[in-house]
Amino acid sequence: MKPAPFAYHRPATIDEAVRLLAELAPQDGRVLAGGQSLVPMMAFRLAHPLYLIDINRVAGLDALGVRDGKLCIGARVRHATFHRPAGDGPLGAMLTAIVRHIAHYPIRLRGTFCGSLAHADPAAEWCAAAVTLDAELMAISTKGERVIAARDFFRGAMETALAPDELLYEARLPILPHDTRFGFAEFSRRAGDYALAMALAAFRLEGGLITAPRIGLGGVEAFPRCIAAAEAVLEGQAPDAELFRAAAAAAAAAIEPLEDGQADAQYRRELAQAMVYRALTSTSPPANERA
């Protein structure tokens, strides 16, 4: 389990990184960020890139901050950064709630938010979050920059809209209104394992009725997505257990579950339903409305 040979490049700037990528991507060159998924694949020789472009010393990519109403997460921002809330609002609290489910502590210290999106594992928590929150994903190459909406980014299991010569240099999550309620639930066999199903739920209340509901499912299909059928059940209704059950059932009916040794389609559908229900029932009033 030793990686196959590769040539190593360590650019210092984004310009340098994208120039290298333009040159080397056609010759099987890949970006190395946290390496917590890519390096194991290289150890098993399931991946054997001829060139690695290590972005861990690219200036500016470690930035995390709010710009234009969006939380901007640079490509070097590690999962563990979210162990503490990024800001006071519900978005920071939500990311902190989610990050505890990602693999294990040492992996979170090294793996990156953007790297997780670019890797696009069907069971990646950040992928589900990005889709549910309508993230904007910023790609750059020598040809220029473009914005890819998260819902258009994921194309299949470990397939994205990113071109081989593009670097995902930043993810932008819209800051959530202060009265957003959210809940996250996932099921995995052991602590830190890949989820067999996960759900992220978010909504606001206006006059006691649900508005702008979002139900994102991950680990269930080839890539995460929002389940419009479940959102439709919730829209304009008063939240209660019965409604949440109906929304969970609608979500379960709307999916085409992955099948593997851990979960056949029926079981995964049941898990998805349970996770949607749990995510919804665990939504709690925002901090400033409590007590």
Partner: protein, 161 residues
């Protein structure tokens, strides 16, 4: 294509000038090039944690990082934990609470726990258990390891208050 490159690693405060292929993992470099065999190779895909070392204070899997990436970083391994003959409180606690059987996972658990304690001295018990679940042990059933880390934290806090 896979040329060797010059890399100097700083491990436990000592500098090791090495010449190696970029594909060599930090784990293999520490063990085979620096000769520090206390860091163990258990799975080489980042799950078992036997290779946990501190890189700039962060407990990470040495099998999931290439040695070239660690240039300029402060690396700490189990060999650097004791202060001369004086064992680190975690080392003493593992002995006292029977947290060691075959001892293969021990260095990884020590560096994981040391990293957690240094980074998050006020960590709550539930978060501690969650963080310690990062590493696998096949002999002890974890009871002695958990007891030892809790005892070392208590000692640490008593000493620093």
């Amino acid at each position: 294509m896979s040329e060797r490159t010059d890399v100097t690693l700083n491990v436990n405060g000592r500098f090791y000038p090495l010449r190696l292929e970029p594909r060599r993992t930090l784990l293999d470099a520490i063990r085979d090039e620096c000769g520090l065999t206390g860091t163990h190779m258990g799975c080489e895909h980042g799950v078992c944690g036997a290779c946990t070392v501190l890189v700039d204070g962060a407990p990470i899997r040495a099998c999931l990082m290439f040695a070239v990436q660690a240039e300029g970083a402060m690396i700490r391994t189990v060999e650097g934990l004791a202060n001369g003959d004086r064992l680190h409180p975690l080392q003493r606690a593992l002995i006292a609470h029977h947290g060691v059987q075959c001892g293969f996972c021990t260095p990884g658990f020590l560096m994981l726990a040391a990293g957690i304690l240094e980074r998050e001295p006020e960590i709550g018990d539930d978060e501690l258990l969650e963080a310690l679940s990062s590493n696998l042990c096949r002999c002890t059933g974890y009871q002695g390891i958990v007891a030892a880390v809790r005892a070392a934290i208590a000692e640490w806090r008593a000493g620093s208050s």
